[in-house]
Amino acid sequence: MEELPPPLIIEILSRLGDSSELARCRLVSRTLNSLSREVSKIHLLCTLSRYLKSRAPETEPSGTPFKTIISNLVLHRQALRSVSIGVEKSLGKISYDDVEGESDDLYLTDVGFVNQWLPNIGGGLKSLSVSDFWIQSCWRKSEILSLISSCCHSLLELQVKNAWLSVDGLKPMPMLTSLTLEYIRLDDEDLHKVNHCFPYLKVLNLIGVGGLKEPKIHLLHLNTCLWTVSNAPLSLTILAPKLVKLKLKCIKPQSLVLETPLLSNFHLALEEANEFKVKEFPHLENLKLESVNLCSLISMFPSGRIVKKLRVDSMKLKMTGFNFDMLFDVFPNLSYLHMGSGAWKEIENYFHSRGMEGRRGMKGLKEIVGYLVECDYLTFSFIFSILDNCTNLSDMALVIHKRVDNPTASGLISKCRAACPRVRWRRGMWIEGTEDLWVSEPL
């Protein structure tokens, strides 16, 4: 260890998960004590056990308050470039009934608290993340954004979770390129202040942000956007001329307007589309659509000639007339198709009652991934029809639900392999709540 020069020791210390690890290292030796102060990151989460100890009568008096720990760690550390403080996710599950009235010991977006240390180290800070304790923060409006915009002129990345944020006094932050707001009540109804003060954002993540009325994202440099929104806003608008990747999850917006001409990777989860005004997507290659009514959504979608990779899934099992032929009418140049379990079921049912005509575009399809909920003697005839039409298919993966017994699932794959040996067949297994498993077949 003595052989390691200080910069390399700092590299090791910088990779310790939590700042409490770093704190313990300070007690190892003088060298580690002084080098620990050079580590440019602080990452500290209040764990569930620390929370419980602070409330238990036996341990409460001896514990250091969490806010004090943070202040001590952070003060006078001008070398700090990244600060990440918060409460562990498990604390989000504590119910209101278990919590006493007005305590604010874990109210981290409290301006009074942050003002004790942020002005001191804010100048050099590049990344800041605060994950608040919802029970203590949801009913207190915080002016923390204004404070951050005053102190942190070099900030590139900002993340705030579980808080009620005001935009009063928010000043422009032209250096900020990445903003994440998660489970936030934001007092900026139409996102007017966000657009104005963070004009150079490249990455914007709005996950469960409430308080919006007719939000419009209007950012000229935005490259990647993730937006999950409830049904409260009346309309959703995104004007982003450089946007390349978008994931939008909404319910039934009365109006959805997208002007994103460079979009190439789009994931849209939408229960129902009323007014869907989207201009052409001349660069859209990768598309994922999830809806209750796939038939209606797809028929509203501007020409998908460019789309090469398509993923579809139905949120509810509703027979809407969605079928394989129709897919290729809208997306004639697919090379990859991924069908979620809802979509597969809908398409297969349609096939059994109305058959499959075939489309020229099917000959371009190279790879299919299908999620099956059940497997019976009819399943094979549907797959056979696909093989018959998709004559250039080289890869097919069937991910079968765990409830289907192994011999049945295995039997299906064998039948498929025998019918079409030129295709590379793969079998997988899925069940809600866990990662999919690939099953390797004996040759």
Binding site: L8, E21, R24, L27, V28, S29
Partner: protein, 126 residues
């Protein structure tokens, strides 16, 4: 480009003794990284396997080698490995791991202990 420094390393007399064992571990890493780049899980498994055969003291030498050869990914991996090895362990464990001894003045260590008392919950038994 990475491999120019490798030749220099071999030529450097001081490092001759350390070269063989270290080189066989460090050199294949960039290729393996390229192959498994897309799949994080596979890389984790590969890293775990590598670790099984390496003693903690060797890790220091591996870090120095990776740094000299300017292999950023290898350096990151080895440093993370050391960090993981001392994670959640007592101060004594960390001292033993690195072969260090406490060089504090008598009052100093107590003062630090008090200041950082909050960081001692949840630590593994030695």
């Amino acid at each position: 480009m990475k491999f120019c420094t490798v030749k220099q390393y071999f030529d450097d007399e001081n490092n001759n003794n350390v070269t063989n064992g270290i080189a066989t571990t460090v050199i294949p890493l960039p290729n393996k990284h390229l192959k498994i780049k897309a799949n994080n899980k596979e890389m984790e498994q590969y890293e775990q396997e590598l670790l099984r055969n390496v003693m903690p003291q060797e890790l220091t030498k591996l870090i120095l080698a990776a740094n000299y050869l300017n292999f950023k990914e290898a350096l990151d991996f080895f440093c993370r490995t050391v960090a993981n090895a001392i994670q959640n362990k007592s101060v004594d464990y960390v001292r033993k791991f690195f072969g260090l001894e406490s060089d504090f003045e008598p009052g100093e260590e107590e003062k630090l202990c008090k200041e950082f008392a909050w960081s001692f919950e949840g630590v593994d038994e030695d």
